[in-house]
Amino acid sequence: MTGNSLIALLPLLILGGASVVVMVAIGIRRNHLLTLWLTLIGLALSFASLFVVAPYAPEQVTTLLVVDRYALFFMGLVIAATFAVVLLCYSYFTRHDTQPEELYVLLLVAALGSAVLVASSNFISFFLGLEILSVSLYALNAYHQTRREPLEAGIKYLILAASSAAFLLFGMALIYSQLGTMEFGEIGSRITALGGVGSPVLLAGTALIITGFGFKLALVPFHLWTPDIYEGAPAPVTAFVATVSKGAMFALLLRYFSGAASHHFGAVFAVFTIIAIASMIAGNFLAMMQDNVKRLLAYSSIAHMGYILVAFQAGGEVGTEAVTFYLTAYFITTLAAFGVITVLSTRQRDADALADYRGLFWRRPGLAAVFTAALLSLAGIPLTAGFVAKFYIVSAGASSAVWLLVFVLIISSVFGLYYYLRVVVAMASGIHEETAAPVSSLVPTLSASGGIVLAALTILLVWIGVYPTLLLRIIHTTLAGVL
């Protein structure tokens, strides 16, 4: 381990250090605001360190981690999203009488796990990062000692994540038994030397790994946990699960399959095509039947992961860039959507019933506008980041001529429109009933932290939607020649 390696690890070290500092600070003095500030400073420092590290990239740190620009980009995304989630958590948990301080330690640790995931180049670091992330998520999902649903969500997540980890481990073992290496790059070259994923054991190993990924990304048919976790977990934690956890996994998926070069072999390609189609169709159709906004967004996220797989299947430089762009847009959009749910939630319950949103346009025009922007972005309507992202995915699909996937994407996303519009219509309804008697009891005041996050996310959402040039350039230079 050289000095350069230590510098390259700076973002991870700061995240780890920050979680220790916050933990000690809680032990000395329990103060919500202080904890918040320490966490934010830790995240900000870690984000700043990315720019210090950038000149040293790419740097292989032992055989476990590779800190290249791709990893740095996703670390930035993870840290920024965690930053937003932390602020949302503050506005959410100040309304509750639980002791919220430990939550921030867990969030920092989860961010650390995600950052390890996006930098890992080896099965060992992959599994390590995954477990750091998952274990903190068990606790985060259940972070409401007074309510039943979060506890249920936590336990469900525990069981499912543990079994998916078992699948992954078994898959890794099978691949190791055949190839004798755990490094992604090495796996790729040895498979190529063997002439494809020929041996049944190797194929089984790859299938098990895909299963593990499928669980984490909530792809059909491994999606059954998603709606329950989304519904049960506290709204800001759901935002974290939906963005950071899935985004880091997808970044790793991209790295693993481009490193291990196996996704262009027939069987694996076919499996991903089927999974993508099933996810797009099932996600969109099941979402149409939901009356709970969090469950609706859960099914919509399944469909969105299917969309991203279309770009993943398209492959090549365009496909990789499209995946990265889509994930970025998806992070912003999803955080904005769950941000609105978070600030509308009260001590008693989360604002997740469709009825809570009736007439929101006339009661809280600002929040309704943000939520509308987020929903339209998820639906891919112009002026929002989601539009450009969807455009990129369709164009990646068209450039690689994966027409089947492109057409399924189009047809299913049109059905997807229906449920986004349902929420928008609910918000715009009730015009003739005067606003004197609000339909719902949920009228919390907007906290400063929540307001700032939502404003920033909305600006980003529209900015990327109108002028994507800058983000495109960043992504292009980041990914040039990395994968």
Partner: protein, 520 residues
């Protein structure tokens, strides 16, 4: 630069209307009225500057344009450009924009600010569609105008507004996405041939396509425009959306949104894919005829006045489609005149429906009747526009339909001409039914309603004047349209290039498309 202003004024006015709507109901109305009027005046000035010249050769294909780099990585430009066709349609847009602001003056009492935000942004989107010559920008504007229209129907519409709004949105979105795929396919083929990424209309015009690919890509565009137009099997969204929308929404839907479909056919489908358009013409022509007759028959059968008027649009736009796919100058002139005249006369009919509903709170044919005695001015106006709609000589619609019939006859499609003429015959039925059920007959329900107020007279008078002018002296319109029309004819006229015709010859054994074959 001036083209940017046309759009920016509307966008800013919309935002201002929303902000001021919190305190006042009058402010948003006045802001919108001033903004649209300003745009109308600008468009008139542009017309007087350029439209007077028959030949625009010195200006190149465009009278006026703005071209900024937008997303250089993908070769996307913010490129707005205007020729005679877009200028005429812009004039129509801003004129109907003024009318729809006035029509909502009393009808809209709730959330006035947000209403005008949507109204202004729809108009901005429509102006964007008529001006964009970068295909990405075009698609952007195409999608953008849907969202405020959706809100307009879903919030201020009538009883079944949510159903109608979602149906409208899903129909147009699906067809729009198919167009997006077609645009991208064209984009990548163009890149493969030239090594250059570009969404620019001018660049893509020269793309050479294999016959079948051209047909597929053309269909992607065609479906999007056919849904908007609406062509016969793609029309089910229209009666619901038009009926449930508030008056301003109906005016804009019928007067402008449908025209974006026809515009797309003229601007993109024919010049980009002349060969494919030729091959596809027989099907389009037959569907146009079906639309003409089917729309007229269904209009006659309606008991809801707004629904009646909505179905007449299917019939009228059938004439426009017929004119466009006949490809000769008479028919093209006729199609353009049909678009403009239909915008005015149908817009006026929807406005009258709105005024009736405001006064009687019903649109049911059975509950109305005999209104002439109590509101004679309104009855006269309704009579005038109903005559326009049935194609009375001397009014704009007649000129359009007559020229289309001449064009189809000249193209030796006698059967189609006869069938379309039957459509005109049927139009007298529904137009007279509109008048008879609304204004004639005994006043069984003892209606006593106020006649047109001055504001409404101000709305109606220019529409009457314009419709008469279009009918009596349409030449300035044709002069302005001429360069564009000639370009379209040039695109469609020459024999396919040698390489292409070689491929055609090699595929001669393929069956011809079914239906009537256009012989030229």
């Amino acid at each position: 630069m001036i083209l940017i202003w046309l759009i920016a004024i509307l966008l800013v006015a919309g935002a201002l209307a929303w902000l001021t709507g919190r305190w006042s109901k009058r402010a948003p109305r006045w802001i919108s009225l001033v903004a649209v009027s300003a745009d109308f005046v600008i468009a008139l000035v542009l017309w007087s500057r350029f439209g007077a010249h028959v030949s625009l050769a010195s200006h190149g294909p465009w009278m006026e344009q703005v071209n900024w780099s937008w997303v250089p990585q993908w070769g996307i430009h913010f490129h707005l450009a205007m020729d005679g066709l877009s200028l005429l349609l812009l004039l129509l847009s801003f004129f109907l924009g003024i009318i729809s602001v006035l029509a909502s003056w009393r009808e809209i009492q709730d959330k006035v600010g947000f209403f005008h935000l949507n109204l202004m942004w729809i108009l901005a989107g429509i102006a964007g569609v008529f001006l964009a010559v970068d295909l990405f920008l075009f698609y952007f504007a195409w999608e953008l105008m849907l969202v405020p229209m959706f809100f307009l129907i879903a919030i201020w519409g009538h009883e079944r507004r949510v159903y109608a709004a979602i149906k409208f949105f899903i129909f147009t979105q699906l067809s729009g996405l198919l167009m997006l795929v077609a645009i991208l396919a064209l984009y990548f083929i163009h890149h493969a041939q030239t090594g250059q990424y570009s969404f620019e209309y001018g660049d893509l015009l020269g793309t050479r396509l294999p016959v079948h690919t051209a047909l597929l890509i053309m269909l992607g565009f065609f479906v999007a425009f056919a849904v908007k137009l609406p062509m016969f099997p793609f029309h089910p969204w229209l009666p619901d959306a038009h009926t449930e929308a508030p008056t301003a929404g109906s005016i804009i839907l019928a007067g402008l949104l449908l025209k974006t479909g026809a515009y797309g056919l003229l601007r993109f489908v024919i010049p980009l894919f002349p060969g494919a358009a030729h091959r596809f013409a027989p099907i389009a022509l037959v569907l146009a005829i079906v639309g003409i007759i089917y729309g007229a028959v269904l209009a006659f059968g309606q008991t809801d006045l707004k629904r009646l008027v909505a179905y007449t649009s299917v019939s009228h736009l059938g004439f426009v489609l017929l004119g466009i796919f006949t490809f000769n100058s008479w028919a093209l002139d006729g199609a353009l005149m049909g678009m403009i005249a239909h915008g005015i006369s149908t817009g006026a009919l929807f406005m009258i429906c709105g005024q009736l509903q405001e006064r009687t709170h019903t649109r049911e044919v059975g509950r109305l009747g005999g209104l002439w005695s109590t509101a004679p001015r309104m009855g006269g106006v309704a009579m005038f526009f109903a005559m326009g709609s049935m194609g009375l000589p001397g009014l704009g619609d007649f000129v359009g339909e007559f020229l289309v019939l001449v064009g189809t006859y000249k193209a030796h499609m006698i059967g189609l001409t006869v069938a379309a003429a039957i459509g005109i015959l049927l139009s007298t039925l529904y137009a007279l039914r509109f008048i008879q059920s609304g204004f004639h007959g005994p006043n069984v329900n003892q209606w006593s309603v106020p006649d047109l107020v001055p504001r409404e007279v101000v709305q109606v008078a220019p529409m009457i004047a314009i419709l008469l002018w279009l009918g009596l002296y349409p030449q300035p319109i044709f002069n302005t349209f001429k360069p564009t029309r000639e370009a379209i004819e040039k695109a469609i006229a020459p024999a396919p290039s040698p390489a292409l015709s070689a491929r055609v010859v090699s595929r001669l054994q393929l069956p011809r498309p079914p239906g009537v074959v256009a012989r030229r």
